[in-house]
């Protein structure tokens, strides 16, 4: 989280923000660039890779893996860590000289696929059969499977064991329905401590929507489905609990995100993904907590999936070698090595048992892969989602039907195109 705030400075004049960016990276050849023809040289290649690393552990692990592959195949790979991934990738695409391989976030995937920045290599992978279906769907744009999912995260319910015991609750009380979640969060609310502390936005609220059988867009992403009873009821459920005082948003608790409210004891429970492990180890080493699956809603269990894929640039001139490297990096063994190094979950179903054995405490996260849902995979939605999130910031006082209707009309004008 703090990484977000530490990006480098940009003291550029406004009129020139875009202009300078263009000129700064305009070095990729003349003004007349070739289109998107497939270009791959044979034999050894020099690959560049841009990653958004969570820390030294991740950087070292990726460097080690790529070096092993490079030594084996005679290619060379240069790994660069991006300070601001979105911006540096955009500069690469604009300059016609993007990195060959890069992390591509699921939320940005559709826009990039639409703009032709990505090379669709799904069918060229040596083995793409055992990636989780929901992850493959996430990286499919207009019926084409673009890129191999790198790893994934799901949301789970984190519970502070001390608060739990203090409230007189036992293992048998783990909430499995919305009613039970309300009940335990009420019991856990006392003094300075709120029952459930949440980050704002649809990246958390969406889980409730999935549990209620709803989603923000239709399955084929052709129309907006915000103003439906499923979505409305899910948001109303959270709103009621916020108004009641047993749920609260992180910003209300003077925290940057759910994990901070949880770690500082302002919230007895939170809903975050497996990244919370690293945050707790670093910032709140003494915290004793349990992870449970999210309680099921009226229509069944539901959670959200967050994932990235190994993107290959459409303008890369070493696509064949890049695909080979992706094959190497997404083997079960290599994914387990990454899991050991920096705690991500393998994107292959065949690695599931191995991972569950090594990390039994992550079983609730792994289980989420079965019923989780990826981000909204339609191009041009970034602005619409940002607007929705800003209106849901203050969910307690929000006019939910009104917000959802506005969302539908905003999303409709994007999806209709």
């Amino acid at each position: 989280m703090s990484r977000k705030h530490l990006r480098k400075s940009h003291g550029l004049g406004v009129g020139l923000v875009t202009a300078l960016a263009l000129s700064a990276c305009g070095g990729g050849g003349g003004f007349e660039e070739g289109g998107g023809e497939q270009s791959s040289t044979d034999g050894a290649a020099k690959l560049t890779m841009l990653i958004a690393s969570s820390g030294d552990a991740e950087t070292a692990a990726v460097e080690e893996a790529t070096k092993a592959w490079a030594d084996e195949t005679g290619n060379t790979v240069t790994v660069t860590v991006a300070a601001d991934m979105t911006q540096e990738l955009a500069q690469g695409f604009a300059g016609g000289n993007p990195p060959d391989l890069f992390y591509m976030d699921a939320a940005r995937f559709a826009d990039n696929a639409k703009n032709g920045n990505l090379y669709a290599y799904g069918d060229k992978l040596a083995d793409s059969t055992d990636f989780y279906g929901s992850l493959v769907d996430t990286f499919t744009y207009e019926d084409e499977f673009y890129c191999a999912p790198k790893d994934f995260s799901t949301l789970g319910l984190q519970i502070n064991n001390d608060a739990w015991k203090k409230a007189g609750l036992t293992d048998a009380d783990l909430p499995t329905t919305w009613e039970e979640l309300t009940a335990v969060s009420e019991q856990l609310t006392s003094g300075d401590q709120v029952g459930l502390g949440l980050s704002t936005g649809i990246d958390r609220l969406g889980a409730f929507v999935v549990q209620d059988g709803g989603w923000w867009v239709s399955d084929d992403a052709s129309e907006a489905t915000g103003a439906t009873p499923e979505v409305e009821d899910a948001l109303t459920y959270v709103q009621d609990n916020v108004d009641n005082g047993n749920f609260a948003f992180a910003s209300q608790l003077d925290s940057g995100w759910g994990g901070e409210a949880f770690g500082t004891g302002k919230a007895a429970m939170t809903i975050e993904g497996n990244w919370i492990k690293g945050a707790v180890t670093n910032d709140y080493p003494d915290l004793d907590y349990t992870v449970a699956e999210l309680p099921a809603g009226p229509t069944g269990p539901g959670t959200l999936l967050f994932t990235q894929c190994w993107g290959i640039a459409a303008d890369s001139d070493a696509q064949a070698q890049s695909v080979e490297l992706v094959d190497y990096l997404t083997t079960v063994d290599q994914q387990m090595a990454f899991a050991d190094a920096f705690g991500v979950m393998p994107s292959r179903e065949s690695a599931k048992d191995q991972y569950a054995q090594a990390y039994p405490e992550d079983a609730p996260f792994i289980a989420g892969a079965e019923y989780g849902r990826g981000p909204i995979g339609a191009a041009g939605m970034e602005q619409v989602i940002a607007d929705l999130n800003s209106k849901l910031e203050d969910l307690g006082g929000a006019d939910i039907p009104g917000v959802l209707e506005e969302y539908d009309s905003n999303a409709g004008s994007v999806l209709g195109q």
């Binding site: 406004v14 007349e32 911006q87 955009a90 905003n410």
Partner: protein
């Protein structure tokens, strides 16, 4: 630009053009040397300023998707298509753009006068001849301007948290401070609520019902949000030092004799300040206001580091929106269009402000002289 004018202009000094044969070739030589001297500057300016501006202008009227060169053959001209969603068409783009305009308008309205007055006050104080430790104060006041705005922004994030130093200080005097950077309530809304003009929970229908350019009057009249005010405080504090320096330079140009003469003529301290010092500072004030307006409309760093436009979009500014549109939404044309609208706006505002604050005596003299010339030439042709 100015360098070019100055050097190529110099050979046309009196005597240069009127000379015979020999001096003509020396004039040519001088012209050539002049061009030679300015060439590096012209190259640098065109490469890093004129060319990028031209590129951005083209991008703002093209359908470039951010891939490859914007001048390649598959990028098409779309006319004003990137501008209409921002200004005319109803939709999210216009709503966001208008919100950013509203936010920045209140931001400019708050920051520019405050920083000017504060800078002037500080300058007058540290310019006192009998003040002890003047150098120390000058350095202390100037210090924030030297520190990177990103570093300062990070410090302010901590100062303004719910349990931060600011709120603890407020707590000492019994004020329960807000969670600054997540408080989206507008100051004017709060003020109206406090004065009993309206209630925040049920704003008057006359205001919420009337839409102007995609935003209701109620939203237009929000004023800067609490989060934005915290940023404004920071900016005033950091920039006042820079402008103080400009005022000090101007103050030091005013010789003590003038002030003493005014004293002798019976002016008190306020009179001297109002009728001697302020008129003397007019060019400096003009400079500070111009730089202030240009700088504040372009505010970007603070939003990028601290708030990313939140809470509830109340710290969204055109500069940050332009960045977001281009890099996050891949709407490069629209991002460039926002930048150009902002450029036109700043240019217009600066021109208006220069016109309003022009030296009226001087322009009156100039006008009178012109009238006289015209009258004289009329007389001559008439006779």
């Amino acid at each position: 630009m100015t360098g070019e004018g100055r050097v190529t202009g110099s050979p046309r000094r009196p005597g240069g053009s009127g000379g015979a044969g020999g001096s003509g070739s020396s004039l040519q030589r001088q012209t050539r040397a002049g061009w030679l001297f300015v060439t590096p500057m012209i190259v640098i300016l065109s490469l890093f300023l004129i060319l990028p501006i031209g590129m951005a202008l083209w991008v703002s009227v093209s359908d470039w998707t951010g891939r490859g060169s914007p001048f390649s053959s598959d990028v098409g001209f779309v006319g004003a298509d990137n501008y209409t969603p921002l200004l005319v068409e109803e939709g999210l783009s216009r709503q966001d753009f208008m919100i950013s305009m509203r936010n920045t308008f209140y931001y400019v309205l708050g920051v520019v006068p405050l920083q000017t007055v504060l800078a002037l006050t500080l300058a007058v104080i540290v310019n006192q001849r009998f003040l002890k430790g003047r150098t120390f104060f000058r350095t202390a006041f100037y210090f924030p301007s030297v520190v990177s705005s990103v570093a300062i922004s990070l410090v302010f994030l901590f100062l303004f948290t719910g349990t931060g130093a600011i709120n603890q200080t407020l707590g000492l005097v019994g004020i329960d401070g807000p969670v600054w950077f997540s408080d989206a309530r507008g100051l004017l809304h709060l003020a109206g609520d406090g004065l009993g003009l309206w209630s925040l929970d049920s704003p008057p229908d006359a205001l919420t019902g009337t839409d102007v350019a995609g935003l209701s009057l109620w939203e237009w009249l929000a004023g800067p949000s609490v989060a934005m005010s915290a940023i404004m405080l920071q900016v005033v504090w950091t920039t006042a030092g820079t402008f103080m320096l400009m005022f000090i330079a101007a103050l030091q140009n005013l010789s003590a004799d003038v002030e003493e003469a005014a004293m002798v003529d019976g002016a008190n301290r306020w009179g001297v300040f109002r009728y001697v010092v302020i008129p003397h500072l007019r060019p400096a004030i003009l400079l500070v206001l111009t730089l202030g307006i240009i700088g504040t409309w372009q505010v970007f760093d603070q939003m990028y580091v601290m708030t990313q436009g939140g809470p509830a979009k109340t710290t969204l500014t055109p500069a940050y929106l332009s960045y977001q549109a281009a890099f996050n939404q891949q709407q490069w044309g629209q991002g460039a269009a926002i930048a150009f609208i902002l450029f036109v706006l700043i240019f217009a505002l600066t021109s208006i402000q220069r016109y309003v604050l022009r030296d009226k005596d001087e322009s009156a003299i100039r006008k009178a002289a012109k009238r006289q010339r015209v009258a004289m030439s009329n007389e001559r042709t008439g006779s």
